[in-house]
Amino acid sequence: MLTLTSPVETRLHRLPAGLKLALLALAAIGLALLPLGGLVLAAAAVVALYLAQGTVFAAHGLRMLRPLWPFLLVLLVWHVFTADLPRGLEVALRLLTAVALANLVTMTTRLEDLISVVERLAAPLARFGLSPRVLAVSIALVIRFVPVFLLRVNQLAEAWRARSRGRANWRIVVPVALTALDDADHVAEALRARGGL
């Protein structure tokens, strides 16, 4: 399955994942507190950071911000209506900068690096019964079963179309959920047969 990590190899890919996440957390707090002048500088710095990784990477980063445009539009219309456009632009800039910065970490950090950070962070939870191994197996199971279920939904939808003139509707969720419960039983048995968790 595709992750959101950028295939364009950058210098940022080589930084440790834990460091990037810690910096991001600090930057997120900083962004929320910055006055307007500092915010503009921060936004410019983020844009420069993207562009420094090459135009292909920067274009990819821009596409990652696409889901935000309906909200930006609403903000714009709202603040034109209340005749307070500068305030609206500031809110929009804060939002865009924060999301772009977080996306930068997502785009430059490989899944396996992030998973190992999660495992390290979750290590203290072992005392409460959540061993890092259980967490790792759970993550792997989800990643494996998303394509399995996608395929199954497609097969059930095709079978539906073979029988009926209409397209598959919500009723298809019943067999999908039922087979998910069955799969869970089978996988649990397989895990137990291999020594358990």
Binding site: T3, L95, T106, S138, V153, N154, A168, L181, D183, L197
Partner: protein
């Protein structure tokens, strides 16, 4: 132990799939995804605790950068976006939906519908509205107004969650882990 883990993991995958497939048209012509339906079902089928854990696992994978949120969104950026409140509300919604089905001895479908309304509408929109008010710098009533367009679709999904949970219980009695 193994069984709980696989159930939680596979229902986390189910939430992802329900957000990804366009084949499931809930009501013809209305482009709403079934992702929040998946969240409600996690609660009503797995029960409060396991349901909430399944949602948390799903969100962990989203944070790790898998594009599993409806519309192919993912990464830590969603925590900085305007929909962060709904993301916080997801596990709460599953927990409350499961709790109602576990505790209220009404017919399964009715309890699942009521639980989905309490979790998927009341709790989810409370969290979602607070999140949107903070990120977009609006007052709570203003943010609530911005969220109302999605209310109709989510109300339909609560009805479907009730019908689907009821269907599961009818097809296979004992399938519902929320009603042992």
């Amino acid at each position: 132990m193994e069984r709980s883990v696989t159930q939680i993991a596979l229902f986390a995958a189910l939430i992802a799939v329900l957000g990804l497939v366009p084949q499931i048209t809930l009501i013809s012509g209305v482009p709403i995804t079934a992702q929040s339906l998946g969240v409600m079902l996690c609660g009503t089928v797995l029960g409060a605790r396991k349901g909430a854990l399944a949602v948390l696992l799903f969100l962990l994978l989203v944070m790790l950068g898998l594009p599993l949120l409806s519309g192919g969104r993912g990464g830590i950026g969603v925590l900085a976006g305007p929909t962060v409140g709904f993301i916080v509300g997801f596990p709460v919604a599953a927990f409350l939906a499961g709790l109602v089905v576990e505790k209220w001895r009404a017919p399964v479908g009715v309890a699942a519908f009521a639980g989905s309304v309490l979790g998927g509408i009341v709790a989810m929109y409370a969290c979602g509205t607070v999140g949107m008010a903070l990120v977009l710098d609006k007052t709570l009533p203003e943010a609530a107004l911005l969220n109302t367009p999605f209310l109709a679709g989510d109300l339909i999904k609560t009805v479907l969650a009730g019908l689907i949970t009821n269907g599961l219980a009818r097809v296979r009695p004992g399938a519902l882990l929320s009603r042992p």
